[in-house]
């Protein structure tokens, strides 16, 4: 999934240093320069990195093995939207479970960022993403309602078919640091906009520990993951906008007609 936004302008006030963590990509919000304006009508954008993620849960009914307190086996997780490795961005994930669980605060420090448990109740799980220090200092929280039972009450519970609830979202880093940018330049899980002309990044160091990628494609639950495609939504939205625009045009015509009529009427009613 590639989402590219072309940055309009990019002024560096600070010199490019060799220090690892400086945020040297700060840009001022001033008017775009005409020379760099490539696409008409788009708004001003800086270099921003967006990481599409999917978070949610899968729940299997235990069938015969189910008892009153453990009727389902569920897994809550955060993954890259295309099942790519997100460990370059996310350092660790903290799942806050319901207080009735032992140690309700569960920390997952390496991919795959997921947590499996057995239980019977549905509750809200607070998922806190902690990023690497050059990515972002502050953690970000998401909330997910754990779902065990299928929406449709008439379906009987089945051991084989799990209940899957996933939500798509994107992490947006509006002012990424140089090192982060360099690191994820060619990373499949991350979409980096086209860099402005003349801006060169230091080549990413081959860091073996960073390059270790858990191949998330072989995850056993992969078969249940939803494939989020923006194409459908874009189509829908485009069609809707089309409708609305034609309706608007029609209304505008009607208004001008009426105004015309009223103009005609006015002098006659003044008699």
């Amino acid at each position: 999934m590639t989402n590219s936004s072309s940055p309009k302008r990019n002024e560096q006030d600070q010199p490019e240093t060799s220090g690892p963590v400086l945020k040297s990509l700060k840009t001022k919000l001033s008017k775009p320069e005409d020379a760099e304006k490539k696409i008409v009508g788009k708004k001003l954008k800086d270099v921003e990195i967006s990481v599409p993620i999917v978070y949610g849960n899968i729940a299997f009914w235990l069938g015969k093995k189910a008892n009153e307190y453990q009727s389902h086996k569920w897994t809550v997780y955060v993954r890259g939207a295309t099942n790519e490795d997100t460990s370059g961005v996310i350092k660790k994930v903290v799942f806050q479970l319901h207080s009735s669980f032992n140690n309700p605060t569960r920390v997952v420090e390496s991919p795959p960022f997921e947590l499996s448990e057995q239980g019977w109740g549905e509750f809200e799980i607070a998922i806190t993403l902690h990023f690497h220090s050059d990515v972002c200092e502050k953690p970000l929280s998401l909330y997910h309602q754990l779902k065990l039972y299928p929406e449709d009450e008439s379906t009987s519970l089945s051991i084989k078919k799990p209940v899957v609830v996933e939500s798509y979202d994107e992490l947006v880093f509006p002012e990424p640091s140089e090192s982060f940018l360099a690191r994820v330049q060619n990373h499949p899980a991350v979409s980096v906009p086209r860099l402005p002309v003349g801006f060169t990044l230091p080549t990413p160091a081959e860091d073996p520990s960073e390059r270790k990628r858990v191949d998330t494609k072989d995850h056993p639950l992969t078969q249940w993951f939803t494939n989020f495609s923006e194409a459908d939504e874009l189509l829908q939205l485009a069609a809707a906008r089309q409708q609305v625009q034609t309706h608007i045009a029609k209304l505008r015509r009607q208004i001008t007609v009426i105004e015309g009529q009223q103009q005609q009427l006015k002098p006659s009613s003044d008699q």
Binding site: Q236, Q254, I258, S268
Partner: protein, 446 residues
């Protein structure tokens, strides 16, 4: 779920499947004894503040050794000045009637009005505008009517305003207090001494009050409008200041979260920012650039959060009802209120769509106004220039994409038809024979 399990799957041990217990709500599960469950639930799961009648009290019977009779006896009331004797039923215990005064006599309270002697009057209380006779009359009335100045003013023989009477009364009392006090310090705590009665201020206050009461609706509306204008101006000034300030510190790391002024609809939270001291934190974002600016100030945010903020900013000029109509329109078109795949492109499209719908609704409103104007103009003319053509205006205010038929006099007839909710449902407007232009569009072809 309960019934299903009990009926359908009796073999599972889960005869009572778990409910959503997990949410740590306040538990009204365990009800206290002594009240039935329904009554407890009626009170909202809380115990009543005051104990109601103790049920044990109701069961109590009077001690059987006492003999109770009820007798018709005379009584006197100490609150009366005469010696009238009335009769009433009395509960007699063992032949002994109850003692004590009439039980309601204690409620006969009266106000103590100060009395002055003639010498005191001569010494302290002379006043150019008041004769002694008038002052005496005033005090008589005060005592008679318990300081109810409305009645006193009404009854007063010479016509004096209520403020004048009050003024005289309070100043007399004050002077007497001061005169009789052994030292000024003693009475300085007395309310009469502490706060002097100000007749002119009272007059003004009452006048202002009556003005407010008698304000016509029109005036109220005007006032409200002026206030709203002033508020808008003030806010736009603040916003302008805010944008300036957000542009400046590209070097500062800490910056206020200015968008949390609006209520966030979804529970998706944003990043916690480092605690900030000075810059204004309650700015109303008036334009897109400041929303974008504030988003950029965050080290990281979620795309859905950004969309929310932009939507709120875009609909900030619209009322709640308009927002509801926008959402209704979106649903009619088959679009989710929150996009399922919120990528950058999708969010941008969604936002644009919302803005266009807002424009659409505004245009519709405009059209309605124009028509109303038009029809009132036409009704004003004594000659009907369009004999016999019915002015049929069918309008459904709430649903935009439903048949909208309008016909003016003459031959023009415009109608718009939009399909609602999926394939297979075709709705057409009834239209006059000329110029029939029905349009059918399917909302979504998925």
């Amino acid at each position: 779920m309960d019934a299903k399990d009990i009926l359908g799957l009796p073999k599972t041990p889960l005869s009572v499947p778990p409910e959503k217990k997990s949410q740590p709500k306040k538990d009204s599960q365990r009800k206290p004894d002594g009240i039935s469950r329904e009554v407890y639930a009626l009170t909202g799961g809380l115990a009543p503040l005051m104990p109601s009648i103790d049920s044990s009290y109701l069961k109590k019977r009077p001690p059987s050794d006492e003999k109770i009779t009820w007798q018709w006896l005379p009584f006197t009331n100490s609150a009366r000045k005469d010696t009238l004797q009335l009769y009433h039923w009395v509960r007699v215990v063992n032949g002994v009637p109850p003692t004590g005064d009439y039980s309601f006599a204690k409620y006969n309270k009266s106000i103590e009005v100060t009395k002055y002697t003639d010498e005191e009057y001569a010494q302290h209380l002379t006043d150019p505008s008041w004769t002694k006779q008038e002052t005496d009359q005033l005090f008589d009335l005060c005592e008679q009517f318990d300081l109810r100045f409305v009645i006193i003013a009404d009854r007063f023989p010479s016509s004096r305003t209520m403020e004048e009477l009050k003024d005289r009364y309070y100043s007399v009392c004050r002077s007497i207090l001061l005169a009789r006090a052994s030292s000024p310090a003693d009475v300085s705590g007395h309310p009469l001494v502490k706060e002097n009665y100000n007749a002119s201020q009272e007059k003004e206050r009452k006048r202002a009050l009556s003005m407010v009461l008698s304000q016509t609706k029109q005036q109220e509306k005007k006032d409200a409008e002026v206030l709203a204008e002033a508020k808008k101006i003030a806010e736009s000034r603040m916003a302008a200041k805010g944008v300036e300030e957000s542009v400046m510190p590209a070097t500062e790391n800490e910056f206020p979260e200015t968008t949390i002024d609006h209520n966030t609809l979804v529970s998706l939270s944003n990043v916690r920012l480092a605690p900030v001291a000075a810059p204004p934190s309650t700015l109303v974002i008036a334009d897109t650039s400041s929303t974008l600016a504030s988003l950029r100030m965050l080290p990281v945010y979620l795309r859905t959060y950004a969309l929310e903020q932009m939507v709120q900013q875009a609909s900030s000029s619209a009322g709640l009802r308009t927002i509801k109509r926008v959402e209704q329109t979106l649903q009619d078109l088959g679009i989710n209120l929150k996009p399922r795949v919120p990528t950058k492109a999708v969010c941008a499209e969604h936002l644009e769509l919302r803005k266009e719908i807002l424009t659409l609704l505004n245009l519709q409103k405009q059209l309605q106004y124009k028509e109303a104007e038009g029809s009132s103009l036409r009704e004003g003319t004594t000659y009907s220039e369009m004999p016999g053509t019915p002015k049929r205006q069918v309008r459904d205010h709430d649903r935009t994409f439903i048949p909208d038929a309008m016909s003016f006099g003459g031959n023009t007839c415009l109608c718009a038809t939009f399909l609602v909710k999926g394939p297979g449902r075709v709705s057409e407007t009834p239209s006059s024979p000329a110029n029939k232009r029905p349009r059918k569009m399917k909302a979504s072809d998925l």
